[in-house]
């Protein structure tokens, strides 16, 4: 209620906060606080460590045993201190509590007193109110009173009443004031009490602080001692352990050292070995590498030289190219100019060309129309030509007949002359030569040539029939070359057939098997000839001839060593002839003059060639006609030779369509040569001999006359000589001329 009371209650309130739960951290003494804090930190660390070890529950007992001393001491101190603290704080706060209970008691009492006072006051109020009411009621009465005396009386009574009321009130006031005074005294007493309490509180607090400080110090000392002793123990234990471990460690170390030394020695040996080996290898490699280096240096030098050379060359080339480039630029410009010019020309030419195209088209049209016209004309001309051809043929025939008549008449005259010459001059008998063409009348129509196969057939048939009639041999073989007999031919052909089976197709061979021997040969030869390109009779003969000549050549070279010269010449001649034949071909083959010249040559060749032929005939009959191995070679040579003539053939074929007038010249020349050349030469020789005879005769006449004159002169001369010899001069001469020469035998 009153401020002092408030203050009194406040003080312990502030005290509350000094109360400490923890051991001594909140103590007033700093030393104590520090120690307490240290303790707390240690405890916390301990707890943390224990917790970290994860053995809080199990480990507690162990730890109690382990660190029994320190831990026990700590616990003891802690408990002691907390107890002390609690007691101290209780002691201090007892004052507050006591104040509180006093206050409560005071309040209760106060309330009681207050209630009584209030009651009293209320009673007082009631009574005074009553009295007051009485008085106020009397005032009303007084107003009604008119009599002053009564009024005065009444006023007096009123005054007495009021005085009584006021007295009551004053009494009450004095009572209350009395009470207030008592309260004031009480307040002063309370204040005193409070200050006493406070001083007591302070005292107790100070005492508490001191006590706590002391006890904390003591406990700290105890704890420190405990820790110290424990530490000593631990130290000694650990020292022992350490020493033991150190010994073990030393022993192990020694062992390791020995092992290591051994190992080191081993390694050293290995190292030395390795080093020596490496050294050798190193030297070898070094030498090799040095050599390589030298070689490489040489190469380098070479390369440098070549490089320099190349550089110079390239520089030179570069210069040249530069110049060329310049030139080319110049040329390029020129070319450009030219190109422009040419373009102009091209344009001009194009225009010209277009013009010309037009022109030519026109011309073409004209020409086509011309061509059509000409075709028409040509057809007419052909018609006319056919007509003229018939007429020409008739005319030709007439002319031919006329000329023939004339020629025949001339021939008759020549025969007459010949007869005269023979009969009169030579004294030989003369016969009329029988020529085929003399019997011919009209233009010659040529019969077809025989093919090679036909001839073959004939040949084979003849040889089969040979044995039967020999006489017919000469006649049937008139068209064969003179030297080659049918027999040899057949032999050659058989040989050919045997050797050149490869030319026949395999199918044909299989077909031929069941056939007769002759037929088989025939078909085979046919196939071979077709393969070789032999078609006509002449080809066949040529082949046969070729074979023969080859053989003869072989024989001559092999057998006749003595007469090599002659055989060679003959061979040469035959060869020439053959080549001539092949070159001249069919046209010239039949020419009479050629044949004759050939004859002449053979004649000129002399007797030796004749001997050869005879020998050849002999050889032909011999079984070893031609060695089968040579057949192929001969064939090859033949085919090579045959190639050329074949090319010309197609041209000739065309002419066969028209009338063959090749025989015409022959006919006419033969007609002209009705007197053969031999005869003509005979005639010529005769003429010459006659002329010579005439000359001799004339000379004889002349010589006779000369002889006469010379005899005369001779006689004269002899006389003269005689004269001179007898002259004196001769004697005078040292050496007489007569001595130097013999006198002509005269």
């Amino acid at each position: 209620m009153n401020p002092s009371g408030n203050i009194g209650v406040i003080e312990p309130n502030g005290e509350e906060h000094t109360l400490i739960h923890g051991p001594s951290v909140y103590s007033d003494n700093p030393q104590e606080r520090i120690q307490a804090r240290r303790l707390r930190i240690a405890a916390r660390q301990e707890a943390r460590r224990r917790e970290a070890l994860g053995e809080y529950l199990d480990g507690k007992k162990e730890s109690e045993e382990d660190q029994s001393k320190s831990y026990k001491q700590k616990e003891e101190s802690r408990l002691k201190l907390t107890k002390l603290l609690l007691c101290g704080t209780e002691l201090v706060t007892n004052i507050q509590v006591a104040t509180d209970i006093r206050e409560i008691h005071r309040r209760v009492e106060e309330e009681e007193v207050k209630r009584q006072r209030l009651e009293k006051l209320e009673n007082e109020v009631k009574t005074s109110q009553d009295k007051f009411d009485e008085i106020t009621a009397k005032w009303e009465e007084g107003k009604q009173k008119r009599i002053p005396q009564e009024l005065w009386e009444m006023l007096n009574t009123q005054q007495v009443h009021c005085a009584g009321l006021i007295e009551d009130k004053n009494k009450l006031i004095s009572e209350l004031q009395q009470e207030l005074k008592i309260k004031d005294d009480q307040y002063v007493k309370d204040l005193k009490k409070q200050s006493d309490d406070i001083s007591l509180l302070l005292e107790r607090m100070e005492e508490q602080v001191k006590c706590m400080m002391k006890s904390f110090r003591q406990e700290l000392m105890h704890i420190e001692k405990a820790f110290e002793s424990e530490r000593q123990e631990l130290l000694s234990n650990n020292k022992k352990k350490w020493e033991r471990a150190l010994q073990a460690h030393n022993a192990k170390e020694l062992e390791y050292l020995i092992n290591r030394m051994k190992k080191v020695e081993d390694y050293e040996k290995q190292l030395n070995k390795q080093r020596a080996w490496d050294c050798e290898e190193y030297n070898m490699i070094k030498i090799k590498l040095e050599r390589d280096v030298q070689i490489l240096e040489q190469q380098l030098q070479q390369m440098k030289a070549t490089y320099q050379l190349n550089q110079e060359k390239l520089e030179y080339n570069f210069q040249v190219l530069k110049k060329r480039d310049e030139e080319s630029t110049v040329i390029k410009s020129q070319q450009k100019r030219k190109l422009n010019r040419l373009h102009d020309i091209l344009n001009n030419l194009r225009t010209k060309y277009a013009k010309q195209i037009k022109q030519f088209q026109e011309e073409n049209q004209n020409l086509t129309s011309d061509y059509k016209r000409l075709v028409g004309q040509f057809k007419e001309l052909q018609k006319a030509m056919r007509h003229f051809a018939i007429i020409d043929a008739e005319k030709f025939r007439e002319i031919w007949l006329m000329n023939e008549e004339e020629a025949k008449a001339l021939a008759q005259r020549a025969f007459d002359v010949d007869r005269v010459i023979h009969a009169q001059h030579l004294g030989l008998p003369w016969e009329i030569p029988d020529f085929w063409f003399l019997k011919n009348v009209g233009p010659i129509s040529i019969q077809q040539q025989k093919s090679a196969t036909q001839i073959l057939e004939e040949l084979l048939l003849q040889t089969e029939e040979e044995g039967i009639d020999k006489s017919s041999e000469d006649d049937s073989y008139m068209d064969l070359p003179k030297q080659v007999s049918a027999k040899t031919t057949k032999k050659i052909l058989m040989l050919l057939c045997d050797e050149s089976g490869f030319l026949i197709e395999s199918k044909l061979l299989s077909l031929l098997l069941p056939l007769e021997k002759s037929e088989c040969y025939l078909l085979r030869l046919d196939a071979i000839f077709s393969a070789l390109g032999i078609e006509s009779e002449d080809d066949l003969y040529k082949l046969v001839n070729f074979f023969l000549q080859y053989r003869s050549h072989r024989l001559s070279s092999a057998q006749y060593s003595t007469s090599t010269h002659t055989t060679r010449t003959s061979l040469m001649s035959t060869m020439e002839r053959l080549s001539l034949m092949s070159q001249v071909d069919r046209k010239s083959l039949t020419s009479k003059s050629e044949v004759e010249s050939m004859d002449q040559e053979t004649l000129q060749g002399g007797n030796e060639s004749l001997v050869d032929k005879e020998l050849r005939e002999e050889g032909l009959s011999s079984p070893r006609l031609i060695h089968p191995n040579d057949v192929l070679k001969i064939l090859e040579a033949f085919v090579m030779g045959l190639k050329k003539p074949k090319d010309i053939r197609p041209v000739l074929r065309i002419k066969k369509d028209t009338r063959d007038n090749s025989k015409d010249t022959e006919y006419w020349t033969s007609l002209a040569m009705v007197i053969p050349l031999s005869k003509q030469s005979l005639w010529d020789a005769l003429y010459k001999a006659l002329e010579k005879y005439y000359l001799v005769l004339t000379q004889r006449a002349k010589l006779l006359m000369e002889n006469d004159s010379l005899e005369q002169q001779n006689a004269e001369m002899q006389s003269l000589l005689q004269q001179y010899l007898q002259a004196k001069v001769n004697s005078e001469l040292q050496i007489p001329p007569t001595q130097s020469f013999r006198m002509p035998t005269k």
Binding site: I10, H17, T18, L19, H21, A43, R44, E90, D100, E103
Partner: protein, 498 residues
Amino acid sequence: MLETPATSSAAGSHTSMYNIQHQPSAGGGASSLPPTLKSNPSPAPAHLKPKTTNVRRMRRIISEDAEWSLAIVPLLTELCIQHIVKNFQNNPILKQLLPEHQQKVLSHLPPDLPLKVTANLIDDENYWHRCCVKRWPVCHVAKHGGSWKRMFFERHLENLLKLYIPGTTDPNVILDLLPLCRNYVRRIQVDQFLPPVRLPTPPQTEDQSDSGSEGEGNEPEKDHYQLDALVAGLKCLEELDLVYGVKDCGMNFEWNLFLFTFRDCYSLAATIKACHTLKIFRLTRSKVDDDKARILIRHLLDHPALEELDLSHNLIGDRGARAAAKLLSHSRLRVLNLANNHIRAPGAQSLAHALAHNTNLVSLNLRLNCIEDEGGQAIAHALETNKCLTTLHLGGNELSEPTATLLSQVLPVNTTLISLNLSCNHIGLDGGKQLLEGMSDNKTILEFDLRLSDVSQESEYLIGQVLHANREAARQRTLNPGHYMSPITNNSPEHSVG
């Protein structure tokens, strides 16, 4: 007056130790209010340097003079620094200097420079330490968050407020200081507000008028200083500790000096409502009756930051208690102190009803009220369901056996309560036995005060044994955080009653 040896909250910094040594010589000027529950967020970092005197005292070693120099002619830098120091008032140059030079200048600055120059310029704790020491013989820096500068401004402001007389003092005296101290003041702790002066003489010199005071009691203009402008200007104000009364009035006592008027109440309520950073609000010894308490509490409903409300030593009755009960369910209040008021059974019942489902309140103090058995039983019922309250003070509440019976039933059930105070009640012998039974099944209560409660010594001793066992268990729990440990247990010792 009384001195306060209660410096327990200053646990541990070097500085505080030094100050405590001075404590016995300090006068009663120091604050008599209990230290704050608030934990200091950061200990002062730069407190090692200014302790040269301290070191000398502790170690008896006098260090050599670090500034001694052989040079006869002082260096130019020295001269410049001296000049700067001399003219600092007119031309304050500090931030432009090198750090070493700054240090020198600060160590040479006189502590009586005008605040306008220094307030926002100098942050050096050393300088403010000198200022504080020069001005006040006792300096308790740990109470001010370890910051000398904060301490200086808080105490400076406190002094101004204490001596402010409405009507005569220029309000600009305080408002001028506002821009200088707004960043540093976190707490306003004023234990006296002077009333306006009616007479030309100040109240101190006023003649005592015992009888005359009654007649003049109804004078309307008794309003005190209005805090609203000041509080609105302070950015980081967290604590407001006010006592509407006059100290040292001596024989000039007058009831008028202790008037907390409705206008004061309204303005204060608006002020604290507007201050969203406020965490702790204390209004003690100020004759706050039911109506004023209701006004204040109505404004505090749904306050975003308020954690502690202390309305002890007032005249709050059941209606005020009902309002406080409403506040419990409409705020995040952690500590409620209604000690020494006029709360009776209905108020206690309403409080118990709020407590039954509250999840914020940690501490409740109903000391020296008169809740009697009805209220005590209601609170005991509430403890059955409450899962938050750790400290309960029901000392001096006319409680008797029925409450003890009920409590003995509740105690085994509740597992959060740590401290319980039933001192100065009429519990009686049987009640004590029943409480002993209840306590034998409880494992959480560490403090249980039954002094002067007519309990037999035997049961009191046995209860003490149980408490001892509980304390040991709790200690093991704190040493092994793996087990459950209430975070409040660390802070709770300060609330405990031995």
